[in-house]
Subunit: 191 residues, 2 copies
DNA sequence: CGTCTATTTGAATGTACTCAAAAGCGGTGG
DNA sequence: CCACCGCTTTTGAGTACATTCAAATAGACG
């Protein structure tokens, strides 16, 4: 499980003690999921934060019309959860579904709280994760608003080449805020 | 300054001790700004987190084309900062500008860190603020992507009637991801 | 009152959408 | 191994919504 340690240390920008690392491992556990399984479901409580060890998943919102809107993708070494549910102990607003058979590390809220209390370095770590998400979302909003679909796609595929390969095109379309037909035309036009 | 205390307690969902509250007041300070002053500027370091006591301001990103894109509005009892800069000690990516003469409470990063260390309740408080922002942005992304401009405007003005009154229409347009002309037509059509 | 900025209106254009259907791809069972 | 089925992607044609460019009003401020 060196993947987790690498993730923590590169996020923090420095190494962590073996003790702190072992404490994390001790209170989290692995679980494997089939393709198309749910890690979280809108309306239900999302009890865990997930660190993807292998595989891929995505979170989405369903609106009144029934459209699924992709919010986030997560592959190896990414964290994902429904933060509204996990942190605030309310029903989830998003659904998280695997795209492939997936192995994840699960961290419950109680264990998360204990961990942060015992090792303040994790307070910092998870705050950085939150801040990074926030900053990324700010940028994404700005670009969704101000750039056209072609620009957004070009930037997306440059920034996340591995996503472009593994994730169905209609989900990338949804993430970018266009219809699958439109993304197909954009790709034809671009290449 | 009971406004701050109300904000903290309603965010936390419970009261805080006088001691904790006084500690906050002791390490923060008030500052007044004219209309059109900057609280933060893209490229410069944003040293403070701002709690708006009176007035209004907004944050925006400027893209390569020079377009300003409104990201967030803040009036009385709202918090605002460039989180990428403030938390991660990097140059700001957004600019924060007052829309009116504004009085704000300023909290520096060092004092913030000390405060959280001494009173863990503030760790929780600021984490909740971050989580709320994150959840709101997720929803905003989903709606920007899936709803048409009229729907977005109707929802915005229902959710933030006070914003609709105090904030110039072209900034609301920018926030919603449409041009001012389009918002004008939407309003005519809606009313 | 005059100037500057914000808002509204008009007409033409364009980007992305809808509806519809065909082609491509992957997996399953005969 | 091939045929079939379901799902994804592509393509076509017509449409709708928001944009652009341009100009006229309306408001705010000194």
């Amino acid at each position: 499980m060196t993947l987790l340690r690498e993730n923590i240390e590169s996020t923090l920008g420095h190494e962590i003690s073996n003790e702190a690392y072992e404490a994390f491992v001790a209170i989290s556990f692995q679980k494997s999921f089939d393709k198309k399984e749910f890690l979280a479901e809108a309306g239900k409580y999302c009890r865990y934060q997930f660190f993807i060890i292998e595989g891929a998943c995505y979170s989405y919102y369903v609106n009144e019309k029934g459209d699924k809107n992709a919010i986030q993708f997560a592959i190896e070494s990414h964290w994902i959860t429904d933060s509204a549910s996990y942190f605030a102990d309310k029903p989830a607003v998003s659904t998280i579904e695997t795209l492939e058979p997936t192995m994840a590390l699960l961290l419950s809220k109680v264990n998360f709280d204990n961990l942060c209390q015992q090792y303040p370095v994790y307070d910092k770590f998870f705050r950085i994760l939150l801040q990074n998400s926030l900053a990324a979302l700010h940028l994404r909003i700005a670009k969704t608003i101000s750039e056209d679909a072609e620009h957004r796609y070009t930037e997306f595929s440059k920034k996340y080449p591995h996503f472009t390969q593994r994730i169905p095109q209609y989900l990338i379309a949804s993430f970018l805020g266009v219809k699958p037909q439109s993304l197909s035309r954009i790709r034809k036009h671009t290449s």
